[in-house]
């Protein structure tokens, strides 16, 4: 039996940062990764654009990951790759994990746990695409794996559904590999990806973007032969009579990511339906004591820099949790953070007003032009911040210290966006 203070599940940027931070705080740390190498999804993101916020440099995914992997290795943190967490049980104190690897089945006891398991992609059936089931329908991440990891070309004439960043990046990648990308189709009236990706991945390559339209059906018995495209109304329902058939051999789906929280579910951790991740406090502790969450498992990030930041927060908090006195201050006194009008979600969902500087991550629920972000304790306005615009695809980060605003524990603070 292995015994540690902090066990990190997932060796992507979130898990690496968490392990490093916890180790620097003096905890006995171990990291578990299911794949053969750490780095998470970054291993296959060979495009650049990573690390602008943190390093003020344009790094590729593997380069960004490499910096953390080096820090991780320098600290001699214990890790296991090709190791899968099969089960977690709560104990009187701490948790007991059952892990499976090529060595066998092992038990690990840990005082605290950090979930950094990343996210998974929504699939064709989940977005209710109908028809036959030929080869040639891939999620963007799978297509990226074929090209960037296996060195295999999965497409010749491709249609991309979804204008999220991954879809945009794949449009460019496929084009560079000699495929013809017929267009990116997006059900919403505005693109979901970062503006710079629209420019660099589509406009620079003359790839058309079709808004308010979607794929409703696929054709072909062996390999995909065509897709049916439909215009959609404001509720994203296909408009009858607008069907059009586009011949192609590949459909790439970039229709959203979902935090991977199967392990959290087995621990009965409360999940936030808005984020799909656990409900957390300002230390990124979930509803189950001693269990923390960070990165894309907490909520889907668009910039890896914030993923690392949340990992560091979870790592420090977990180490602090292990050093705690017998009384448990974290559960003591929190205020609810309530996302109101104009907000899609807000992380964390509650926090201790006395903890000092807190970092909030949020997304607006729709596109706003010039607007104010308003924070209220009851009816009392405590903060107002101006934004030139807010767009749901672009997550915002805000630092607030609630200490000065005399908000009472047990009360709630609400957040709203006001159009100017």
């Amino acid at each position: 039996m292995i015994d540690v203070d902090v066990l990190v599940i997932g060796g992507g940027p979130a898990g690496l940062a968490a392990a490093i931070a916890a180790k620097d705080e003096g905890a006995r740390v171990m990291l578990i990764e299911r794949e053969a190498r750490t780095g998470g999804i970054l291993k296959q993101c060979i495009h650049d654009g990573f690390g602008l916020v943190r390093f003020r440099e344009q790094l590729t995914g593997p380069e960004y990951a490499e910096r953390f992997i080096k820090d991780f290795e320098d600290r001699d943190i214990e890790s296991r790759t090709l190791c899968f967490v099969s089960r977690i049980e709560k104990q009187d104190r701490g948790l007991l994990l059952t892990v499976v690897s090529r060595k066998g089945v092992d038990k690990i006891r840990t005082e605290s746990l950090i979930l950094a398991t990343g996210c998974r992609e929504r699939t064709a059936r989940q977005v209710f695409i109908h028809g036959t089931r030929p080869a040639g329908i891939f999620t963007a991440g799978a297509a990226q794996h074929y090209i960037n990891i296996l060195g295999q070309q999965p497409a010749r004439r491709a249609v991309i559904l979804g204008s999220g960043d991954i879809g945009l990046i794949m449009a460019r990648r496929l084009t560079l590999e000699g495929a013809e990308v017929l267009g990116v189709y997006e059900a919403k009236p505005a693109p979901s990806g970062l503006s710079r990706n629209i420019q660099q991945c589509l406009k620079d390559f003359d790839i058309p973007l079709y808004l308010s339209s979607t794929v409703t059906r696929v054709f072909g018995e062996d390999r995909l032969k065509a897709v049916e495209i439909c215009d959609v109304d404001n509720d994203m329902r296909p408009l009858e009579g607008s069907e059009k058939v586009v011949e192609c051999d590949t459909l790439i789906l970039s229709v959203g990511l979902i935090p991977e929280n199967e392990l959290a579910r087995t621990l009965d951790i409360t999940l936030d339906p808005r984020t799909g991740g656990p409900v957390c406090d300002g230390n990124l502790m979930t509803s189950v004591e001693g269990v923390f969450c960070c990165g894309n498992a907490l909520h889907v990030n668009d910039l890896v820099d914030y993923v690392s930041e949340s990992g560091e927060c979870a790592g420090r908090s977990a180490a602090a949790y292990c050093r705690r006195e017998s009384s448990d201050p974290s559960k003591a006194a929190t205020v609810e953070l309530h996302p109101g009008e104009g907000l899609h979600y807000l992380v964390p969902q509650h926090l201790d007003p006395e903890q000092g500087r807190s970092i909030l991550y949020f997304r607006s629920s729709r596109v706003f032009g010039e607007c104010s972000f308003v924070v209220k304790a009851g009816e009392r306005e405590i903060l107002r911040k101006k934004y030139p615009f807010l767009r749901p695809p672009e997550m915002e980060r805000l630092e607030i210290d609630f200490g000065g605003y005399s908000v009472k524990p047990g009360s709630s603070v609400s957040f709203e966006v006001e159009e100017l």
Binding site: R34, G104, R120, R125, F128, G141, Q152, Q153, D222
Partner: protein, 601 residues
């Protein structure tokens, strides 16, 4: 009035363009219509079980032409092959028959046009091992269903396929429904089905803890069970293969050559050879288990007395999270009319009586099942039943999926659209007699028919196979001596399911072979070792779908997003081929077109 004229009159009222004749003991319909439902109604109107052999409905739908998918493979691998038995179709019926025959010293060849066994109806159904309460006593459905149901437990044990027998539940919403339900109970007694009882809501909760609010009670039928139909079919095929049966996939029967003199001599036609895309085969005996194409095959053999009218059905799979809502299988009683159905309820006494009688006579085509607990812990919702002219109409449709969910939300009250992880459509091979047509050849001496195997074919297949085996041996013994196969073993071992083992067992297995410790599919927790075992099985189907169907990587919530590329790589390594040679399923289902510009592994 003469029987034929009676039928003509009924059909004439449907459409003036249909000609009705009587040929070789069958009622034959010809003509062209522009509404498929007329063709189906005419077929049903032509049924006269007492006085005719069956309905041959050749009515065409204007503008429709059947597109039959054929394997892209062309070679001569089977050319000139002589076999004792040729089985056409590797669905559950064909594979069950192959397994039964593999107990004898015969050369048996199974061909199927698809790239895997259970590629058609046998891989696209709910897997309910039916009780069979609403069949008529004289039907073949009843005869084979009750026998098949009794065989399932032992069969599942021998083939190491999971089987659960926790009963089937029919829910009642009103007190008066107990009257027709009592009649069904009586029918059960007549049919010899044990244990059927009406239970009050409070008692029923022991069997199904998540009953919808409207339920006042229901009928519990303990012999109902659940199998995994794809696994069962594959297990039968593997067992047959390890006992010496040859299974040739991607092999379509295209034509038959009939003996020119045979029919004159004995009044019986004789099949001389069977042409496929892989060459010409010379069988002593042919077993037709071709599902929706069984009438086409029977026609080639000169032994057609029936017509398949395809009936599509869609099932929906939910995430395991939603699986708690059903423990075995349940649906509302066919009599109960839920509040939302009030507007289509049968009117008046006569209307209601007719509805009851039809329901009791088993002519309603779904078995009242709505929710099925899959053996993997997901919930299956459906199926519906829609007539279609297209025998390969396996595409799913948005409106149908939506209406199935909305309808079943009355029974699974917590069911949400977001719980859906997949859906699939299968086509039932129904005859107009709405019964199986399992028989020896009538006009052709060396064919056995296993046709019209619609629901409950999964349940019935093992019993159908026993008759096919006996008839085959009876026929072959006229020509050759048939001995038992001394090497026959009825036992097949499944690939170990490491995730279901105890920690000690799993640890020991991994220590003996570390591949069992490397998890490839994270949703279903499947290891590299299990994938390699499946590739080493007696019936190796080295495609991504072949592996997925056997082990379930790619069947979980990510639907293969993570593991698809990994599985492809493992298959390529195992088979010693390039990754782009690995197919999704069929011979032409290319996944990757070759290496990227610079990249070479």
């Amino acid at each position: 009035m003469d029987r034929l004229n009676k039928i003509r009159k009924k059909i004439g009222a449907l459409s003036p363009d249909i000609r009705v004749t009587r040929e070789r003991g069958c009622i034959v319909l010809r003509g062209e219509v522009d509404d498929w439902s007329i063709a189906v109604k005419a077929g049903h109107a032509a049924v006269d079980k007492k006085h005719s052999l069956g309905v041959i409905n050749d009515i065409r739908l204007k503008g429709f032409e059947q597109k039959t998918s054929l394997p892209a493979l062309q070679d001569r691998a089977l050319d000139g092959r002589r076999v004792d038995v040729l089985i056409i179709g590797a669905g559950i019926t064909g594979c069950a028959a192959a397994r039964e025959l593999s107990a004898f010293n015969l050369s048996t060849l199974v061909v199927d046009k698809m790239s895997d066994v259970a590629g058609a109806a046998s891989g696209a159904n709910g897997g309910v091992v039916h009780v069979g309460i609403n069949f008529s006593r004289k039907s073949q459905k009843h005869y084979y269903n009750i026998r098949g149901n009794r065989m399932y437990r032992e069969l599942s044990r021998q083939l190491d396929v999971p089987f659960e027998q926790k009963g089937q539940t029919m829910l009642c919403s009103r007190n008066w429904e107990r009257i027709p339900v009592a009649l069904l109970k009586l029918n059960a007694r007549i049919l010899g089905i044990p244990g059927v009882r009406y239970l009050k809501r409070s008692e029923l909760l022991d069997h199904e803890p998540h009953l919808p609010d409207f339920t006042i009670g229901g009928m519990h039928m303990p012999t109902g069970g659940i199998t995994n139909p794809h696994e069962m079919t594959a297990a039968m095929a593997e067992n047959a293969a390890s006992n010496g049966t040859e299974i040739s996939l991607n092999t379509a029967v295209l034509e038959m050559e009939l003996d020119p003199d045979s029919s004159k001599e004995s009044g019986n036609t004789h099949i001389r050879s069977v042409l496929t895309n892989r060459g010409r085969i010379y069988p002593r005996l042919v077993i037709n288990a071709a599902g929706v194409y069984a009438d086409t095959i029977a026609q080639m053999a000169g032994d057609r007395t029936f017509t398949i009218h395809p009936r599509r059905g869609t099932n929906i799979i939910t995430d395991k999270r939603a699986g708690y809502q059903v423990k075995s299988s349940m649906g509302k009683s066919p009599f109960s009319i839920l509040p939302y159905q009030q507007k289509d309820r049968p009117r008046g006494l006569a209307g209601r009586m007719k509805f009851f009688i039809n329901t009791l006579a088993g002519s309603s085509h779904t078995k009242g099942v709505g929710l099925i607990h899959s053996l993997h812990g997901n919930m299956l919702v459906g199926p519906n039943a829609v007539e279609t002219p297209d025998r390969e109409d396996r595409a799913t449709r948005a409106d149908e999926v939506e209406s199935i969910i909305r309808m079943q939300q009355h029974i699974a009250e917590d069911l949400k659209f977001s719980d859906v992880i997949a859906y699939f459509t299968g086509v039932r091979a129904s005859t107009y007699e709405e019964d199986f047509a399992v028989r020896r050849g009538i006009f052709t001496d060396n064919i056995l028919q296993a046709a019209g195997i619609q629901s409950p074919g999964v349940t019935a297949a093992p019993a159908i196979a026993v008759d096919l085996r006996d008839w085959a041996i009876e026929y072959l013994e006229k020509e050759i001596k048939v001995d038992r196969n001394p090497a026959f073993s009825p036992i097949r071992k499944a690939v170990p399911r490491t995730a279901e083992m105890s920690d000690e067992e799993r640890d020991a297995l991994i220590r003996s072979n570390p591949d069992y410790g490397e998890i490839v599919c994270r949703c279903e927790e499947i290891s590299r070792g299990e994938i390699i075992d499946a590739l080493n099985s007696p019936l190796c189907v080295p495609t991504v779908d072949g592996i997925k169907k056997r082990l379930r990587p790619g069947m979980g919530r990510c639907q293969g997003g993570f593991c698809g590329p990994l599985v492809m790589k493992i298959i390529a390594e195992h088979q010693g081929t390039a990754p782009d040679a690995v197919r999704k399923g069929s011979y032409a289902s290319v996944i990757c077109y070759g290496g990227t510009k610079g990249g070479r592994l």
